[in-house]
Structures are given as C-alpha cells and as structure tokens.
Symmetry: C2
Subunit: 172 residues, 2 copies
C-alpha cells in the first residue's frame, strides 16, 4: 500500500478515493464514498471526524448493519483464510492466529453467546488488545444491554478505522 | 448460487444472510445486514420493501455513497475484468461487452461528463436497457440537476437490487 499525504488523498477522484479507503470500515465502502464531499481534509483527524459523524448519524439499524459486516474473532472465516487483508493483520497482531485449543473453545463459546444475545458479532479493536484482554472483554461485554453494545461496538469500529487510516494516509 | 425460498432466507443466521445477499446492493452489504432484523419476510417483495425503506431513509450523503460504490458502465474496471459477478452479467445482458470502438468513445465521454457534473457515476439497471437505450439515457440524464439524479440513481439501484434478489430467493 502506497502511503499518501492527506493533501494527495483529498485530490483523488472519487473512484480512486473509494478504492483506496474502501475497507477502513470493514466491508463498508459506502462510508468513505459518502464523506468524499467533505474534502479537502486538513488532517487525518478531520477525515476521521467526517467518518465518525457519518457513522454516528446512521440510524441504529445502519449501525448494527456495520457491526454485522465484521467477521468473528478467530472464527470460521479466519479458519478458511477468507478474512480481509486488514482483519488478517489485526487478528494476528492480537495473537489470535496462535491460540491454544482451549482458548479456541472459549472464544467460540463466547462468540456464540454474544451473537445469540445481541444478534451481531463482538467487535473490538484487535490491534489495541491481546487475546487475553479480548477474552476478558467478551465475557464482560456479554453482561451489557443491546443498546450500549451497539454504541461500544461502533466506538471500536471507529478505533479500528483510525488505525487503518494511519496505514494509508498521513498529515502533510 | 443456490435458490432459496423466502422462508429459508428468513431462517438464515445473520452471517449466512449477509454472505448470501451482500451484493444485492453493489458493494454495500451493510444494507442487507441492516434490514436483517425485519425478518421474517413474507415475500421477496416485503424483503425488497425493507431494503427500499432503509436506502430511502439514508441521508443524501449516504445515498450518494451507495451510487459511488457502482462501477462505470463499460469502464476501466470492466476492461480490467474486475467487476463483481453480478455487474459482469448485467453489463453483458445490456450488450456492453460487445460495443464498437465508436460506441466506446461515446460511452467514455458521457461517463466522464456525468461524473464531472454530479460527482458520482451514472447508474442504470442494465438488465432493463440495451446499450443504445443506455447511451440515450446518459445523454438525457446529463441535463438533470444533481438532486434529481441522486433520486433517479437510487431508483435504478433499487431496480437492480430487485433483479439480483430474484436470482437468489423466491416466494414460497
């Protein structure tokens, strides 16, 4: 991936812009496609703020839709090697590519309980958490109500987005 | 693609549901992920109505974002063979895989003019139009204002969506 400055990013035509940033929100290119008209961005922060505003202005159904576009942590899609490039790196950074059989059983159970309770997958910024913290977080967040988990999940989506942006674009 | 009944589709877990219907709105799995909670659907029509409501309730930025997730007709992505499976079939059905050099020049010019004027690509239900009707439509719609082109583009997105749904799911 070529690193762009924020000025260069702001000058891309919409096709190149969407292609460059399509996965900063997992499988939701519509988000960056939607905020394209907010250019030029002064900084990576202002770009991220545009994305944040767009995502927070979505109705709850739209926000839950975003959560459902995320894969399970150490789940079926990871096992099949079908994660997006970004998710593969993030899950690896958290040590999820190297879990014991016992941790895998626990993770699968917590994933299943979480999805059964809330109807969307557990989303956490894997780059900011190691596998033990993730397992702990899953068990804790399982106790929350649905509304607060949508909020928490979306905050994690936005953290993941910030780190993905940092891999592509920098301030001038 | 296996054909499902609407009852079978309604019984899928959200992961399989999103994977099955992810591209009924081009590159926007968030749409079907968002309407998942509207299940069970009585018919393909009610499923499509849920999608319609979701898309029409998006702010203009979100709707323009959806339009920007669509490829140019007979454009660069088609030439590179990188269209989604659905777009490949639709552009072929319209005869866009078999255009003369002259038609290609006209199409490229109209695509460029349209994108320069509106800031999003020309979207039309290719299955319902042959290449001559598409060229005529591009020239005509270029005369519209931006607001009405967002509306028209979104209506076309929803027609495309209906035909894509028909390829995957049927009434009981």
């Amino acid at each position: 991936m070529i690193m762009l400055t924020i000025s260069e990013a702001s000058q891309l035509d919409f096709g190149d812009f969407v292609a460059t940033f399509e996965n900063v929100v997992e499988k939701c290119p519509v988000v960056v496609a939607g905020v394209y008209d907010d250019r030029p961005f002064e900084s990576v922060d202002t770009f991220h703020k545009s994305i944040t505003t767009f995502v927070k202005n979505l109705c709850q159904k739209g926000q839950i839709g975003i959560l459902r576009c995320h894969p399970d942590l150490a789940g079926k899609i990871a096992a099949l090697g079908q994660l997006t490039t970004e998710s593969t790196e993030e899950q690896k950074a958290a040590g999820l590519d190297d879990i014991t059989d016992e941790e895998k059983v626990t993770m699968d159970q917590l994933n299943a309980q979480y999805k059964a309770k809330f109807g969307f997958p557990f989303v956490i910024c894997a780059r900011e958490n190691k596998k033990n913290a993730i397992l702990k977080g899953m068990a804790e967040r399982l106790l929350n109500d649905r509304h607060s988990e949508v909020e928490t999940g979306i905050e994690e989506v936005l953290k993941i987005c910030r780190l993905r942006l940092n891999n592509i674009v920098s301030d001038n």
